[in-house]
Amino acid sequence: MNSVFVLILGFLVAFIGYRFYARYVDQKIIKADPNKATPAKMYMDGVEFMPTSKNILFGYQFKSIAGAAPIIGPIIAIQWGWLPALIWILGGALFIGWVQDYSSAMVAMRNDGASFGGLSHKLVSPRARIILLAFIYFYLLLIAGAFGNVVVSTAVGLKAAPMAWLFLTIAGLLAGQMIYRWRKDILLTTLVAVVIALGGIVLGKFFPSNSIIGDNLAGSRVLWAIIAFAFCYFAAVLPIWRFALPINYVASYIVFLGLFFGIIGVFILHPNFTLPAFTGFNIKIGWLWPIMFVTIACGAISGWHSIVSSSGTARQLENELDALPVGGGVMFVEMMLALFALIIAGTLYSSSAGYSEAIVKGPGVIFAAGVAQFLGALGLPAEFGSAYGSVMMIILAITIMQLVVRFMRIATSELLSDVHPIFRNAHVGTLIASILGFILVYYGWWQYLWVLFGGANQLMASLALMMITIWLISEGKPSAWTFYPMIFMFVTTIAALILTSINLLKKVFSGALKGEAFVGNLLMGLMGFFLVIAALILAWEGVKAINKYRNLKAQKVGPAAAVNA
């Protein structure tokens, strides 16, 4: 099959899904009202509630949700064959992904911009909120671990990446200084910073990490894990305008240019898929169901999007009609990003043997090679393209990691400050989050870590869909369009987490691991079970809430029906 056909199929699914299904839900079920004041317009406190144009929010939503997952997931999942991965990306985004993103924003908007914590308290129960917040803490820890692993594998596997990463950091720090302290023009700052970052990518080719620090250090996972979490540490404790924000600002241009020209490269080269369409239901990394469905997360459905949509986007929408293009539309764009990653994995190698050899080095290495190939179609040298792809991969992972570590610092302070005042200290909270993340990265088995992350992420999505379903029932609206996706995601993710945790703990207790490796993998296995138990309790609370609202509705209808009779 030709890769351009896959992209066209993606555009078609996005068009049909958005134009017919999504619009039907928006107009006939949710009944978005352009005359209704949104929380952004009603409250306009200049802190969280600020009405913003839908085009700006489109870019903001895309940047917030597009991390490493829509790229890594398809590259790993192609081991079951490109066909099941393609079907899940298209079907998942069409029936579940946009539904969750859009309705998370809508539910939050219709509830005064409440976050999911507040919504779970109001719609489900006070206990649900506490469990949800604990769930979110461990889910974010898994994100830090899984994405940290991506950064480390890319830095180890592609020796040009560290120099590019270093220059990106320098460019970001300089951009922050120029904008906030020296008050320089934003265009000049952008130009200078992006040129420095691109220069670092070129230099990475001439000064690979092993030529500067030697082969041993350049190939050391410990070193790059420490550097990655040190990076996140500084992002969490330094003023956000000095480190995190300006680096993210420069990085977004690198990512945008890479994706834009990469997709043009796909159209120019239009390679055919060389890997098999289907390899089997049960392969080395697990069963097609449920494992593949959690391996591909963000490209089809992701709980992270519900947090962004409810806590961030919903408080900025200036019109109810904007929720569909921003919430739903961006999900379809992310689906295209996942298809781009699938095309890279499926067309890059002439045979499965080539792919199998490459995947051992990490999916980031495959992505960088793919970007190199497609940028090469535009005349860029392969080594530059590979360095560019590697720094894109690091950016996509580390921008989410820094946000996660910052959030975990705040969460640690809030949850544990009553236990001991030391937990109020920003450095202590950040250190705890960084150490836990480091343990997962260094000692955790990658294949289990990614599946645990995917399972937790998709389980978060099913919990979001549960809250949306409860809200729809409480409002007397049809809920089948969220209820059945919720059931599918819940069953799939619980099965994936249980299977993965059992397999992991079997290996841990087989005696093969000692010391810190034993602790790290035991921590992972236990986290998997904790997430399952938390989700089952939340599901039980959800069932009680659904029954409560259904009974309330029946009571309202009951007397009226008696009168009519």
Partner: protein
């Protein structure tokens, strides 16, 4: 300006806003948040009595009242609004 030119301008404006949203919106939002947080903190220190905080505004604070009045409802709402961890991601 012809219809086509208007559509082209609208398209380029949308692309500009998209790139701004991807790259700079977070920074702009943070700057606005920082300013608003400081203003709200100042209002809390000078007019905290409105929320039940025992800060009796002296004469000089009350002279600021006409400037503060437009912000009082949003300030009160922000101070008293229920918050949790997920707000940290906003």
């Amino acid at each position: 300006m012809t219809e086509d030119e208007k559509k082209k301008n609208k398209f380029f404006q949308a692309v500009k806003e998209f790139v701004y949203g991807m790259a700079a919106h977070d920074s702009a939002r943070f700057a606005l948040k920082s300013r608003a947080s400081m203003e709200h903190l100042f209002i809390l220190i000078t007019m905290g009595d409105m929320l039940g905080v025992p800060i009796l505004p002296p004469y000089y604070s009350l002279r600021l009242l006409p400037y503060v009045v437009p912000q009082i409802s949003t300030w009160k709402r922000r101070m008293l609004r229920e918050k949790d961890l997920t707000d940290a991601l906003a």
